[in-house]
Subunit: 147 residues, 2 copies
């Protein structure tokens, strides 16, 4: 079995972010990986669903739990293009997810601004994977929005 890199999976998350971009949503994408396979793909849908809780990570957690038939995700990795917010950090805590890997930092709304201990103590955190690509997409979105 071919082993995929973190960059490979983050690139898949970026593809989700680009779908969000095309649909006029703030471009954030996520995938959840179990045993080197993607078991959930999601992108931000707060506008389309008219629902502030419809962040990429929330949709991905629900989808992954559904796929696994289990509420907790200790053997899973979340790849998300932007640092999760407090809500998503709190959801990731409850999920007991094994690893969180994000791209760009969110100095304004990222969960680390509040308290870095928000994640479950067993959760590993890795940051900055393909951060530049994620930032460029976000910047392009907000530039377009301001026009």
């Amino acid at each position: 079995m071919e082993l995929f890199s973190d960059e490979y999976f983050m690139n898949e998350a970026l593809k989700q972010a680009r779908i969000a971009f095309e649909e006029g949503e703030i471009p954030v994408g996520a995938v959840i990986v179990s045993k080197n396979r993607i078991i959930a793909r999601a992108y931000n849908q707060t506008e389309k669903l008219n629902d502030v809780t419809a962040h990429a990570e929330m949709i991905a957690i629900t989808a992954a739990a559904n796929y696994m038939g289990a509420k907790y995700l200790p053997d899973c990795k979340l790849y998300v293009t932007l640092e999760p917010c407090t809500m998503c950090g709190g959801a990731l805590f409850w999920s007991q997810i094994g690893t969180v890997i994000f791209g760009a930092s969110d100095p304004k709304r990222g969960f680390r601004q509040l308290d870095s201990s928000i994640l479950h103590p067993k959760t590993q955190l890795q940051t900055g994977v393909l951060a530049q690509q994620s930032e460029e997409l976000l910047n392009e979105f907000f530039k377009k929005l301001r026009k």
Copy 2:
């Protein structure tokens, strides 16, 4: 139009918590009120839905936004029997909800343990409404669970 009290609405949230109790869920219930009318009722369904994000408040926010046809809920009040967790606090922030009223405090997982500024700066907070009834229901649940 008869005006209902905070106790009246919290009692409606307690009814939701009792449904959760009957279904073997941690008994937390919530209602969202707009212009003195209940527009959303929800109870914790993390077990039934196999989804850590299915807290009463999250389901209520989604339902209320759907009812209002609007993502933001500045004119709404959330009544919830237990202090919201970090995830729900984060969701309430995004919703810009007008008022959050909770019953029992949650000294372990409540959002105030982390940072009381998690809610939107415009959101009013009121605590302790029918707290004893909520606590009794939770204590009964965990007592039963330990048997």
